[in-house]
């Protein structure tokens, strides 16, 4: 019902009849496409057609609407609808009336229904759960920032690296698959240049190439395109292009998490929130080698843990053994295992101990591997496999040789067999037709007596039939007579049976006579039949045609038999040829159909043999040539793939692989960005490490960056940045894990008990137990834990000196000449007593000084590898370890000696003897309170179970 205003508006717009509008509403509603809004405050419904918006006011009776206003549809209406809209539907149509009274009974405006629907729109549906929680996104953003900052610092550093001058340029004999130039450069100095690095010629920056090989100072470079040899200077310098390989791998891992592409879909939740699934360790699983209880526990947990297991392995507790067992058992269960670590050495340690039946492949930079590990490289294995395959298939190849050449022996025999079978078939058909002819011919020849023959035969037949029935009857009579005789012998009715017996005997006699007569008649009939038959035969035999046909038939039979005889020979020969190559059907058939089947079977066996021969030849050919494809497949089908964390991502060969389990060794040394690289590619992970030993390496510049940005960040974020950089994921996770997801290996078998006890108390809350047989005592010291205390020397003599040889970069170094002299003298005396030894000092300068002096004392051999800072010794062990503290000053400045984890690594290397060299006055006075406490307890421990000796006394002993 239009209001007057609406009628005016409609009229102004050229729409005189409201029913046009109403019909449009009806049409849209029937298509479920009529939008509307409830304006509750004005108690009206606004409906939007294709050109008009109409304001509808519900009537008092709730049976209709008054059309209050009409306005052309505007853009702002669209905006309103986008905020909230009802879509009206209905097929009953909309109707227009001029008056309320015209509205039919039972009509409804559905106003309250629309109001309710509108109200329910206002309740905004809960925000669809974000695909990733905000703190995960923040975490990933932060990782990205840290990685990018580290990358930028590293690239800037690489760009500052000096060029590598070369003195000579030479061509090579390198295999060339394109016109790209390959040349050899003789460097002037030793340089750390790795295979695959991108370099360019300093004077001709457009000449870029990749390092193909490094052999001492000889560097082979493959240029990116064909290079004019004359353009390369004969002497010049190579500049290494910065590589962001490592950071790209790290960023890719973060992106994989961000895009939820990680193989383990909940990895982020596991790492960030430590939300792990419950599981039962496989308590039935048995390792190949004996494991102690904690190792066994770790082993069994690792086999079934669905997400993450942390194994804390203090020094000497058999981490590698445990890892090896886990890897072998997982492989045996058909799982694809990744063994990874921060360093190549740790990866190789595991690889070297894997049982031979585990298919292991080592992937990565050959230069950085142990010789043994190189044997596991896909490249090496391809060669071995190639030999193995060629050897293993040689026998089969010779057996199949008969099927490869033009001389097809089996084919010839089969052809012969087919021809013989054809002959046999022809002969057989001949026999059949001759037989039929013969019958006709005989019939004709014996025609004169044919009727008699038939009659005689019939007569004999009849008599034979009646004789049979008489004989049956006679046997009945005999049985009845016998029964009657038995009953007549006794009993009440014996008399009547006697009578009966008499009767029966008469019957027997009578039938017996009849039987005899019939027999006689039959014999006569047979004789007469034989006679007439003989006559017929004689007639036939005398007939020339019958004779001729009979001969022909017998010839055909002989032919048939001869053909089959030859066929049998052919079958045997074919079998002989086929047998080495394929399974052959046995037996000889009874009929021709059987022979045909046998021929078919042999033919397909021969075809199979030829297929096999061809296939094997192609296979051997392929194996001899397709090196690269085999590489990839060896990796894909390996049980265990071993690579460094970064190597798992930067090797194209691994790109497409996902792993069932990643076993990460030295996890305490691996920063989160590095750890993520292998973890995003594995369904579950076992992290093995010890956060009480060396933490991840932190570059000084990166540390400075972190400190700089920390001031601009909320404290939690700054802490997180610090954690990402300074602490391994292992260290962050271990304390927060449930006991089901962490195991501590507790029994160490490396260090003597006296030393181990101190280590256990200091670093492992006394939980570390020892199983150590002890050993030969050192002649100089009374206990495996000894110290040469230089505090007895005059300050001027024992004092440290700052190292002046360093280039000014990095942290200041120190040398201590007294300590160096003592250590060198001590080793001069003791080195030979121990299988192996090492000197560990905190400063590189001190290590260089000692190396220099030791070379004079012991000669060059093996000195350089056995003197160094802690970093080179983590994971290693020696019979004798000498640790020189180096620092000696009145102020108690001990520098990074105070990094207890470094000290832990240093003193936990010895198998038999630890000798500390240091100035207890300085160490006790350390400004770092934690360190001071440790030193005091060390001195107490030394005084209780060790051997602390004044340095002058040792000097005397050594020089004496």
């Amino acid at each position: 019902m239009p209001s007057g205003r609406a009628i005016d508006q409609l009229a102004r717009s050229g729409l005189r009849d409201p029913s046009v509008l109403i019909n449009e509403f009806g049409r849209l509603a029937s298509a479920n496409a009529l939008p509307a809004r409830v304006e509750a405050d004005r108690s009206r419904l606004v409906v939007y057609g294709e050109r008009w918006a109409a304001g509808l006011y519900p009537t008092g009776h709730g049976d209709a609407y008054t059309l209050g206003f009409v306005s052309p549809l505007r853009f702002k209406d669209q905006e309103r609808l986008l905020k909230a809209a009802l879509v009206l539907g209905g097929t009953r149509g909309w109707r227009a009336y001029h008056h309320v009274r015209d509205v039919p009974e039972g009509s409804s405006s559905h106003w309250s229904l629309l109001c309710r629907a509108w109200a329910s729109l206002a309740v905004t549906p809960p925000e669809a759960a974000a695909t990733m929680p905000a703190h995960h996104i923040e975490y990933l953003d932060l990782l990205t920032d840290v990685i990018e900052a580290t990358r930028d610092i590293e690239i800037a550093r690489q760009s500052r690296e000096p060029a590598l001058p070369y003195r000579k340029l030479a061509s090579t004999r390198e295999e060339r698959s394109s016109a790209r130039g390959v040349y050899l450069f003789h460097l002037l100095r030793d340089a750390t240049l790795s295979r695959g690095a991108l370099v360019f010629i300093t004077d001709a920056p457009d000449l870029r190439g990749r390092v193909l090989r490094v052999n001492d100072r000889e560097v082979t470079i493959r240029f990116d395109n064909s290079v004019d040899y004359a353009r390369i200077p004969q002497q010049g310098a190579l500049q290494v292009l910065p590589s962001d390989r490592v950071y790209r791998a790290q960023l890719d891992a973060v992106e994989a998490l961000r895009e939820q592409r990680a193989t383990q879909p909940h990895l982020l939740t596991q790492l960030v929130d430590q939300r792990l699934a419950t599981y039962q360790p496989d308590t039935d699983a048995q390792p190949r080698q004996t494991l102690d209880p904690a190792q066994l526990h770790a082993f069994r947990a690792a086999l079934t843990v669905p997400d993450l297991l942390l194994v804390l392995g203090p020094p000497g507790t058999g981490k590698t053994r445990t890892i090896t067992e886990i890897a072998a058992a997982c492989a045996e269960r058909g799982q694809r295992v990744m063994v990874t670590s921060h360093t190549n050495r740790a990866v190789d340690n595991v690889l070297e101990r894997l049982p031979p039946e585990v298919r292991a492949v080592r992937v990565g930079n050959e230069d950085a591997m142990t010789a043994h590990a190189r044997g596991f490289m896909a490249e090496t294995q391809v060669e071995a496999l190639r030999q193995e395959i060629l050897a293993a298939t040689a026998g089969m190849t010779s057996r199949l040789a008969a099927f490869t050449g033009a001389d097809d022996q089996a084919g010839r025999w089969l052809g012969y067999l087919a021809a013989r079978l054809a002959e046999a078939q022809r002969a057989d058909r001949d026999v059949q037709s001759r037989t039929a002819e013969l019958a006709a011919s005989v019939e004709r020849a014996t025609a004169p007596v044919a009727a008699q023959v038939v009659a005689a035969e019939q007569r004999a037949e009849e008599l034979r039939a009646s004789l049979a029935s008489l004989a049956e009857k006679h046997r009945d009579y005999e049985r009845q007579a016998e029964t009657a005789r038995r009953r007549a012998a006794s009993g009440v009715l014996a008399f009547s049976f006697r009578w009966l017996a008499g009767r029966r005997e008469q019957q027997v006699v009578a039938s017996s006579a009849q039987l005899d007569d019939t027999r006689t008649a039959m014999r006569l009939a047979e004789e007469s039949y034989a006679a007439i038959r003989a006559r017929a035969d004689a007639l036939a035999a005398a007939d020339p045609e019958v004779r001729a046909i009979t001969n022909a038939r017998d010839g055909a039979i002989a032919m048939y038999q001869k053909a089959l005889g030859k066929a049998t020979q052919a079958v045997e020969a074919t079998r002989e040829v086929l047998r080495p190559a394929v399974a052959v059907p046995g037996g000889l058939p009874d009929d021709l159909a059987g022979w045909t089947r046998l021929h078919e079977e042999l033919t397909s066996a021969a075809a199979l043999a030829r297929n096999r021969a061809g296939l094997l030849a192609q296979w051997r050919d392929q194996v001899a040539n397709a090196e690269h494809d085999l590489h990839r497949e060896l990796v894909r089908y390996a049980d265990v793939v071993a690579a460094t964390c970064i190597g798992t991502a930067t090797t194209a060969i691994l790109a497409e692989l996902e792993f069932d389990v990643a076993i990460v060794d030295e996890a305490g040394q691996i920063s989160t960005p590095n750890l993520l690289v292998p973890l995003v590619r594995a369904r579950r992970a076992v992290l093995v490490g010890d956060h009480n030993q060396l933490p991840p390496f932190l570059d000084d510049e990166v540390r400075d960056w972190a400190e700089r940005i920390a001031s601009d960040m909320p404290p939690e974020a700054a802490t997180l940045v610090g954690d990402v950089l300074r602490r391994s994921a292992f260290e962050q996770l271990y304390p927060r894990m449930r006991d089901t997801n962490r195991v501590m290996l507790r029994v160490q078998r490396r260090m003597p008990a006296e030393l181990a006890q101190f280590v256990s108390n200091t670093f492992y809350r006394g939980l570390l137990e020892t199983e150590h047989p002890g050993g030969q005592p050192d002649p100089m010291f009374s206990a495996p834990l000894a110290m040469i205390d230089t505090s007895d020397q005059p300050a001027t003599r024992r004092r440290e000196q700052p190292d002046r040889s360093v280039d000014g970069l990095g942290r200041p170094g120190y040398v201590n000449e007294l300590e160096a002299a003592l250590i060198v003298q001590l080793l001069g005396r003791s080195a030979a007593r121990y299988t192996d030894w090492a000197v560990i000092v905190p400063y590189r300068a001190q290590a260089e000084l000692i190396t220099q002096l030791l070379r004079k004392e012991l000669g060059d051999a093996g000195v350089a590898d056995n003197v160094g800072t802690v970093d080179s010794f983590q994971g290693g062990e020696r019979d004798l370890i000498v640790y020189g503290c180096t620092r000696s000053n009145p102020a108690g400045r001990i520098g990074f000696l105070s990094e207890l984890r470094r000290l832990n690594v240093a003193i936990t290397r010895p198998r038999r003897q630890l000798v500390l060299v240091g100035d207890t006055t300085t160490l006790r006075a350390a400004q770092d309170p934690e360190f001071a406490v440790l030193v005091q307890s060390l001195i107490d421990h030394l005084d209780a179970v060790g051997d602390r000796r004044p340095s002058r006394e040792i000097e005397r002993l050594l020089s004496g």
Partner: protein, 388 residues
């Protein structure tokens, strides 16, 4: 502005005025409603066989080696390697194990026959559907550069010229058949659905809005411009024909007298100038020469460009041909900076358009070079020099 939702309205107008027979009158920036439908389909990745897998498959197929031990013996391979390879083939659906025997599946058989390792993979992709008519968007709308908005709100700072985009509303509801039926059309390729994608399934859908400019012709026709490369968006124009509501909305917008709008504009900016309607229907404001220069004057680059107000536009002009030529050179240099301009021919083409627009002769590339040097605008030449 790298992440703007669409190019400035200016560019659409510049094009519209060149379309023969069109007398552009008004411009309406709109957000056209779409469904962005997440679909999954099966696709067979065509891979080359490697060595072991090919020979194991051939061993089964041609040499009747139906046990993994037989295969290992025959090829002289370690049994574990054969097992692993068969496991891989089984994982990709090429072999199956039954009663201790290894057999090829139909997929394995057809792969072997074609000597292509078909690996079934799930492919996910988004299909765009227009909401008013439930028509799928053509392939041209799937360029990565096309920006869509998830809501009808334009993020602040993503419109370079202050255009206010009016969102359009469609009451129709989504039905998965809209997309699954698309999979049965022979011309599905034209809708970004190559035939290699089989078994199309709809996983979900969400709203999306396509920013576009609709330009009204004096005769009431509509030209449509969206971010789709090329000049006009023919698909959107055809929709404008089919969706009556769009015409109604535009017709309902009040249209004040353009002369009044531009007289006021001149007055507001205290600019001296004259107004004229060109035969093309476009209004032109010819300003005095001293209207151009450093701020607060109008920059030279504005010469020949269009000023928008209340859906109308006016071309800013000067009668000083030298000034117009400078404006042409400046704009050409700016074009040389665009990353989409890769070749000298392309740049020359664009320069011709600009010159036509400014009614000057087309400058040569050398001329442009000299101008940049003279005006100390060498920085602009960096990109210029690397044009192919």
């Amino acid at each position: 502005m790298a992440d703007r939702i669409i190019y400035p309205a200016q560019r659409a107008i510049e094009h519209a005025v060149t379309v023969p027979g069109i007398r552009p009158a008004r411009l309406f920036p709109v957000l056209w409603p779409l469904w962005q439908v997440e679909t999954a389909a099966q696709v067979f990745d065509e891979q080359a066989y490697e060595v072991l897998d090919r020979f194991l498959v051939r061993g089964i197929r041609e040499a009747g080696l139906l046990r993994s031990t037989d295969l290992a013996t025959f090829y002289g391979l370690p049994a574990s390697l054969v097992e692993r390879c068969l496991a891989f083939l089984s994982l990709i659906g090429h072999v199956r194990h039954a009663d201790g025997l290894v057999m090829l599946t139909p997929l394995g058989e057809s792969s072997a026959q074609a000597d292509i390792r078909y690996v079934p993979k799930e492919s996910r992709q988004q299909i765009l559907v227009e909401r008013f008519t439930a028509r799928p968007l053509p392939r041209s709308h799937y360029q990565g550069s096309l920006r869509l908005l998830p809501t009808p709100d334009v993020p602040i700072g993503q419109v370079s010229d202050g255009s206010r985009f009016a969102p359009l509303f469609s009451p129709s509801a989504f039905r998965p058949e809209i997309v699954t039926q698309l999979g049965e059309r022979p011309d599905r390729f034209d809708f970004n659905l190559p035939k290699q994608l089989r078994d199309l399934r709809v996983l979900g859908h969400q709203d999306a809005y396509l920013p576009a400019y609709l330009i009204e012709d004096a005769d009431g026709g509509l030209l449509a411009y969206s971010g789709v490369r090329g000049e006009q968006d023919a698909f959107l124009e055809s929709l404008c024909q089919r969706v009556p509501i769009v015409r109604s909305l535009i017709a309902a917008e009040q249209s004040p007298d353009p002369r009044e709008i531009w007289t006021n504009w001149l007055a507001d900016g205290r600019r001296r100038g004259t107004l004229r309607q060109l035969p093309s229907g476009v209004w032109r404001a010819t300003l005095a020469t001293d209207s151009f220069g450093a701020r607060p004057k109008l920059p030279f680059s504005r010469i020949g460009s269009y000023q928008l107000r209340k859906q109308h536009f006016v071309q800013i002009w000067t009668d000083d041909a030298e000034l117009r030529r400078q404006a042409a050179l400046r704009r050409a240099l700016a074009m040389a900076q665009l990353s989409e301009v890769r070749t000298r021919a392309d740049l020359a083409n664009r320069m011709r358009t600009v010159a036509e627009q400014l009614e000057v002769t087309t400058p040569t590339l050398d001329e442009l070079h000299r101008y940049a040097k003279k005006e100390q605008l060498q920085a602009y030449l960096v990109h210029f020099d690397v044009l192919e």
